[in-house]
C-alpha cells in the first residue's frame, strides 16, 4: 500500500483505521468561471477508469434541450458537467445572460455522509489524504450511502449491484500522478494540489472576479460536511443551486442520529432485554402449574 494512501476512516468498523502517517489533504478546485463545458473531464475519467460501455451508453437517455451529456451520473459515468442557461437580474436593472457549466462529481467530504451511513465494513474508506473511496469488494449494495450523501452522488450498477463514484483517481495519486480529469482540462479550470494551496488560488481568483463583473463571486467549500475535497469558484456565489450544488449541504441529521443515537440505544435495549430474562429467571424461577411439578411429571 503506497504510503500516502493509508486509511483515516473505514465504514462500519469499530476498530480505528490504520493510518498513522500524516499526508497533506489533497483537493480539486473547479473554477466554473473558466469552464468551457468541453467534457474532456467526463471522457478522461471514463477513459482512465475503462468505464465506457457502448451498449450502456446507448441506454442512457439523452438529456434534451441542453448540451448536457446525460440527465444524471450513472455507475459508468462518474463526473458530469451540468449546463444551465440563466438570466441574471443585475442591480442596475439590466439583464446579463449566463451559460453556467459546473462539473458534478463526488465532493470527497472531510466528514463523509456516505461512510457514516455505510453498514458494510471496509466498503467505504477515507485515506489520510482526504480522498473518500469505495471498495466494491466489500460493498453489499444496500445504497445507504446514496441516502447518506448530501450531494446524491453514489450510483448503484444494475449489473454488479455495487455502488460507484469518482475516486479522485486513487491509483494515479498512489503513484504521484494527478487525477485524469484534472490533467486533461484544457483551460486549467480544474486544479489539483493541497487543500490550503488551492484555497489560496481560489481566493485570488474570487478577488479577480469581483473586479470583473462578478460581484458575488465566492468559494464553495461547505462547512456542513467539514469542508470538501472539491472546492468550487462560483461566479454567482450566492446561488450555488444554479450550478446544481445544494445550498447548505451537511451530513443529514437523520443519518447521524440513526448512527450515533438509535443504534447504540437499540443495542443496549436488546442486551438489556436479555439480561432482564436472566434476572427474572434467577429471581422468580419457573411459573409451574400446580400439577406439573417434577413429582407430577413422572407419570406423564
Amino acid at each position: 500500500m503506497p504510503s500516502n494512501m493509508e486509511l483515516r476512516r473505514i465504514s462500519a468498523t469499530p476498530s480505528p483505521a490504520t493510518g498513522v502517517r500524516t499526508a497533506p489533504t489533497v483537493a480539486k478546485m473547479i473554477d466554473t468561471t473558466t469552464c468551457i463545458g468541453c467534457k474532456a473531464c467526463e471522457v478522461a475519467c471514463q477513459e482512465w477508469n475503462d468505464l465506457f460501455n457502448a451498449d450502456i451508453a446507448l441506454e442512457a437517455p439523452s438529456e434534451f434541450g441542453s448540451y448536457q451529456t446525460m440527465p444524471d451520473l450513472t455507475a459508468n459515468f462518474w463526473n458530469l458537467i451540468r449546463f444551465n442557461e440563466h438570466v441574471e437580474k443585475r442591480p442596475d436593472g439590466s439583464e446579463k445572460f449566463h451559460w453556467l457549466m459546473a462539473k458534478d462529481q463526488c465532493m470527497h467530504c472531510e466528514d463523509p455522509g456516505c461512510l457514516k451511513a455505510c453498514p458494510a465494513p471496509g466498503a467505504i474508506v477515507q485515506y489520510t489524504n482526504g480522498v473518500v473511496d469505495f471498495q466494491q469488494e466489500h460493498c453489499i449494495g444496500c445504497e445507504y450511502c446514496v441516502t447518506g450523501c448530501p450531494f446524491d452522488i453514489p450510483r448503484l450498477s444494475k449489473k454488479t449491484k455495487k455502488v460507484y463514484k469518482c475516486t479522485l483517481c486513487t491509483d494515479r495519486l498512489a503513484y504521484g500522478l494527478e487525477p485524469a480529469c484534472i490533467k486533461a482540462c484544457p483551460t486549467g479550470c480544474l486544479q489539483f494540489g493541497t487543500k490550503e494551496h488551492l484555497v489560496q488560488i481560489a481566493n485570488a481568483r474570487v478577488e479577480q472576479l469581483k473586479h470583473n463583473g462578478y460581484e458575488k463571486a465566492a468559494i464553495y467549500d461547505p462547512p456542513g460536511v467539514g469542508g470538501t475535497g472539491v472546492i468550487y469558484v462560483l461566479g454567482l456565489g450566492d446561488q450555488p443551486e444554479l450550478y446544481g450544488l445544494p445550498n447548505d449541504p451537511h451530513v443529514p441529521w437523520t443519518v447521524s442520529v440513526w448512527k450515533h443515537a438509535l443504534k447504540p440505544i437499540g443495542s443496549l435495549l436488546m442486551i438489556g432485554a436479555l439480561l432482564g430474562t436472566i434476572i427474572h429467571y434467577v429471581r422468580y424461577g419457573r411459573n409451574e402449574a400446580p400439577g406439573m411439578r417434577k413429582v407430577d411429571r413422572e407419570e406423564v
Binding site: I10, A40, E47, F52, P121, T170, Y175, K183, A184, P186
Partner: protein
C-alpha cells in the same frame, strides 16, 4: 429417537451458537488501490490528428515491442505534459483517441464497387492498384490537352481530380502534389479551402 423437548432445545441452541462460532470473523481486507494501468506500457509521442492546435499526446501500447506483440494494442492515450501548447491537457476528442485507433469499423480490406452494382466486393491490393492505374492512365490519355485553342502548350489533364490530405502529414502531401502535378492534374484541393 423420541426427542424430548429438553433435548430439542439443547440441539437448537447449541446449533445456533455453533453457527456463530462457525461463522469465522472475516476481518475486512483493507483498501487495495487499483494497479496503475500504464506502469508497464510502452510510451510513444505523437500528435493528435484532429484540430490544428496539434496537441502532443503520449500513446501507451502494451508490450515492450517484442516481435510477437502484434495488432493494435493501444491501451491508453494521455496528453504530453512537456508539449508547450497543451501541457498535458486534451479535449474530449483527443482524450478518446484510443477509440479512433482501435475501432471495430476501421476499414481493413480493399473494397470495390463495380459499375451499377449494389454491394461491395473484397479485392486484393494488387488488383486494386492495377485497375486504378489503368483507369487513371485511360482517363489521362483520353482527356489530356497538350495545346489549347490559342496554340499555347498547356499539358492539362482536366479529366482527373486528386483531392485531400489535411489529415495527412507534410511528406505524403508533398508526394501527392509532386505526383498529381506531374500527371498534369489541375483539379486539386484540400480542406484548407473549406
Amino acid at each position: 429417537m423420541a426427542v424430548s423437548r429438553r433435548e430439542f432445545l439443547k440441539i437448537s441452541t447449541a446449533g445456533g451458537v455453533g453457527i456463530v462460532a462457525f461463522g469465522f470473523d472475516l476481518a475486512p481486507a483493507y483498501a487495495v488501490v487499483r494497479e496503475l494501468k500504464i506502469e508497464r506500457t510502452t510510451e510513444t509521442r505523437s500528435i493528435c490528428p484532429y484540430c490544428a492546435v496539434s496537441c502532443g499526446v503520449i500513446i501507451h501500447t502494451l508490450g515492450d515491442k517484442s516481435k510477437n506483440v502484434t495488432g493494435t494494442t493501444v491501451v491508453h492515450v494521455e496528453g504530453d505534459p512537456d508539449h508547450p501548447v497543451n501541457r498535458g491537457t486534451l479535449c474530449p476528442k483527443g482524450i478518446t483517441l484510443k477509440h479512433d485507433i482501435v475501432n471495430n469499423t476501421r476499414l481493413t480490406k480493399p473494397m470495390y464497387r463495380a459499375s451499377g452494382s449494389d454491394h461491395w466486393e473484397e479485392k486484393s491490393w494488387d488488383w486494386m492498384i492495377d485497375t486504378i492505374a489503368q483507369r487513371m492512365k485511360k482517363t489521362r490519355d483520353d482527356t489530356f490537352i497538350e495545346k489549347n485553342a490559342a496554340g499555347q502548350t498547356v499539358n492539362q489533364c482536366p479529366g482527373m481530380a486528386i483531392v485531400g490530405g489535411c489529415t495527412d502529414n507534410n511528406e505524403v502531401n508533398y508526394l501527392l502534389v509532386k505526383w498529381l502535378r506531374s500527371l498534369g492534374v489541375l483539379y486539386t484541393d484540400n480542406q484548407a479551402r473549406l
